[in-house]
Amino acid sequence: MNEDETITMKTRFLPALLIPPLLYFTAPGTASADILFTVRLDTTPLTITPGDQAGPFSLAFQLAQGDTNNTTNTATVSDFVFGGGSAGACPANCMTFGNVSGDATGSIHLSTSDGFEALIQTFRPGTTLSFLVDLTTNPNNPFLGAAPDTFAFSILDRSLFPIPTQDPSGADTLVTVDINSTNPTVDSYATDPRRLTNAGNVSITMGPATIEEVPEPGTLTLLGTVLVCAGVLRRWRHLRVPNA
């Protein structure tokens, strides 16, 4: 095989190298986008007076459907870290709405397939609370007058009222995601110390959760594929230089 044949073969195989990324972008699975993000909260104010007077506390996760005639979304919440605290064991310490599965000792799975799903689980706060959220992002069609599906997280006091936050909707969430695009914004809100908790009548000052987006595995695969392709391309160009 001489050099010309080598180059011809490389040229012939080059399109094949581009197939993986092409498949990635055209595969049906790519229509169901996900976002991954980590939520981190300093929960120390819940462990000390006066904040602890409102406890025991509960985690509350919900996924609400915006419109019945649209797509389904799911949320998986996992990798819980309580910073010295712990989640109560289910079912004794849990309350569910819809077909929620799992709990905060492992992972929680919610879906909009039955309209509204939620999990309330008692927990003992530590210094921090963090968890990972894997949320599908299939937006409803707003032109049909549909509201988006919504994922939300709150911390409830012992009366199961949410700790007051600066959430402008009035729902007192700490984290809210309106799935209004394939890459929706994750909103986090600090508590509202001007409003007292329903249980204990105390003011709780807690900053907004830190949200860190995590590249999802598919994105990493794509990145790797692109890098490989780029490397091959560079190599191919390098080989062609002598014949120029």
């Binding site: 919900q62 609400a64 459907q65 915006g66 005639n69 309209g115 509204f116 007058g145 199961l160 402008p168």
Partner: protein
């Protein structure tokens, strides 16, 4: 593989069809969305009577054109004369041109043949409904279910299918004969069945004919007609009391009939003529001594209940306005002693802002005992009328020697003076009773309005009144849908308040500022949700999509003016025990008018 895909395809298609069916079925589940009551003048149009002289007795139409005749054109069989028809005499009269918005169409239940509620023959009424729609006259439908059909009726005058069970009905002997009591459950069951049968029949008519009907009158307290009429002579009062009459019992009976009408006709307004009764019957739980409450205890309990239970669709109505009625004024008014003081006027005044109707008694004639004037028996115009601040009229006196009392100019003048009284009560609608334009045929009234001049004068009066009513009725808030871009957030549940919260952002995308208040209306709100923080429900501004429904909840987004490009957000709070998604269609209103 093909089979599997085919099955999956069929499943998907089935799902799509199911969703489409659910979408189309949803409006039928919507509660209480009602066509607005068009303000203006309405004529009366009794429809048909039983001709007992024919063999066998037959239902014949009276004073209307026969089925199949050219619509809106009288035929040779017409007696003519009833208000609605009079104003059509000169040919088709587009709404407003004849001064009439619509007609009151009365259906007496003894006139509808049939052996039971399910087998009633509605064909004559249906023809009239079709004709009215073709004539461009809206219809207020009166389902007349009096205790007796005429003053000398015995129970045998009740509809045959009611007679079948008459022996089980509790009756009372009154001046008008032996009649069922208002609160008898069997009797009221028959009345409800009649209402439901009427609704079921109307549902079979063409949509345009159905939508042409704007109101239903199902009078629970009519002894002889669709007027509120509870006989209360001394002997009657004793008979009622012996039979167990009480205000609360009557109230319950009224609620039953009104609820049945509201349920059977969910898109129609409800109207109810009211009247005062004998104080001995209508004391407020016995706390008011006789003579102090004017006999309106029942009315004072029915009206607040009805206005609250049927917001935006209930209209109380007075059926005896005349030139002699007191104009609404600051008390003490100078009242004519022969008809006033009448506490019902005070009552109707209370509900003016919520919508009331007035019906004139014979503006043209009183139909009573004739007075001889210049040797000629003459029926006075509204018992002589009174001198009114706007110029007045003394109709019983010939205006000048040689001028007939029945001069058409006088009719128009009396109508104008009636209108003077009527307008002081700010009604939504004004009904002109049949006597106002009656003819000599079959009537005790020798006067008739046969000249074009008289017709034209009355047309002009009614047209002017309709225009004025439309202008004085509440101005509706303006639809500004096209000026807004609206984004909805998702629904978030608050586990404490048990409410769902949704933030709606409203952006003025127009080039001009929009004057406040600015309201967001939720039309077609799904039955599983209710707006907990609503500012009210629409009573005036209907959607622009040819969908004339009201009673949609709305919330005031801001009272201020919104500049071009500016936004305002409003949080909606939904009570939704099912937790299934709440659906609605958004609509934007703005301005000083009523939503």
């Amino acid at each position: 593989m093909v089979d599997i895909e085919s099955r999956q395809g069929r499943k998907r298609m089935s799902l799509v069809l199911l969703l489409v069916a659910a979408f189309w079925a949803t409006p039928t589940c919507l509660a209480q969305q009602v066509t607005p009551y068009p303000p203006g003048v309405y004529g009366t149009w009794p429809i048909f009577v039983l001709n007992t002289k024919s063999t066998p007795p037959m239902l014949v139409q009276q004073d209307i054109s026969v089925p199949g005749a050219t619509v809106c054109t009288p035929t040779t069989t017409d007696n003519g004369g009833y208000t609605g028809e009079l104003l059509l005499k000169n040919g088709p009269a587009p709404r407003g041109a004849g001064g009439l918005v619509g007609i009151l169409l009365e259906v007496l239940w003894t006139w509808v043949p049939g052996t039971n509620a399910a087998s009633l023959d509605w064909s004559v009424m249906n023809n009239l409904l079709i004709e009215a729609q073709a004539c461009n006259l809206r219809v207020a439908l009166s389902l007349d279910m009096p205790l007796a059909a005429s003053p000398d009726m015995s129970p045998t005058s009740l509809p045959p299918w009611v007679e079948q069970q008459i022996e089980m009905i509790k009756t009372v002997r009154l001046d008008i004969g032996t009649v069922p009591v208002f609160w008898d459950p069997i009797f009221n069951g028959d009345r409800v069945a009649f209402i439901q049968a009427a609704a079921a029949n109307i549902a079979t008519l063409p949509t345009a004919v159905q939508q042409n009907i704007i109101a239903v009158l199902a009078q629970p307290f009519g002894a002889t007609t669709d007027d509120w009429n509870i006989p209360h002579s001394d002997s009657n009062v004793m008979a009622w009391q012996k039979a167990g009459y009480s205000t609360s019992t009557m109230l319950a009976a009224g609620q039953m009939i009104l609820k049945a009408a509201a349920k059977a006709f969910p898109s129609l307004n409800l109207k109810l003529p009211i009247q005062a009764e004998g104080t001995e019957l209508d004391m407020l739980d016995g706390t008011n001594p006789p003579g102090t409450d004017g006999g309106v205890a029942l009315a004072t309990q029915v009206l607040p209940w009805a206005y609250t239970t049927f917001p935006g669709r209930f209209f109380a109505q007075l059926n005896f306005v005349s030139t002699k009625s007191p104009p609404d004024c600051v008390s003490p008014c100078s009242l004519d002693t022969t008809v006033s003081p009448n506490p019902v006027f005070d009552l109707i005044r209370t509900y003016q802002p919520q919508g009331v109707g007035l019906q004139d008694v014979a503006a043209a004639v009183d139909g009573g005992v004739p007075t001889t004037i210049n040797g000629v028996p003459t029926y006075c115009l509204q018992n002589g009328g009174v001198t009114l601040p706007n110029g007045g009229v003394i109709p019983c006196t010939p205006p000048s020697p040689g001028v007939a009392v029945c001069d058409s100019v006088q009719y128009a003048t009396v109508s104008q003076n009636s209108w003077y009284v009527v307008q002081t009560y700010a009604p939504t609608f004004w009904e002109i009773s049949r006597g106002d334009a009656t003819t000599a045929t079959g009537s005790q009234n020798p006067c008739q309005i046969t000249t074009d001049g008289g017709q034209d004068l009355m047309r002009n009066v009614f047209a002017a009144v309709t225009t004025q009513l439309a202008e004085t009725s509440p101005t509706c808030a303006q639809n500004v849908d096209s000026e807004f871009y609206i984004t909805r957030s998702g629904y978030v549940f608050n586990f404490g308040t048990k409410l769902f919260y949704q933030t709606v952002k409203l952006t003025n995308i127009g080039s001009a500022e929009i004057g406040g208040p600015i309201e967001l209306v939720l039309d077609h709100l799904s039955p599983n949700g209710s707006l907990s923080n609503q500012s009210g429900v629409t009573t005036c501004a209907a959607p622009l999509d040819n969908n004339p429904y009201l009673n949609s909840p709305y919330i005031v987004a801001t009272g201020a003016t919104l500049l071009p490009g500016a936004s305002v957000s409003v949080v909606l709070e939904f009570s939704n025990p099912t937790k299934a998604p709440t659906a609605y269609t958004q609509r934007m209103l703005a301005g000083a008018g009523t939503p």
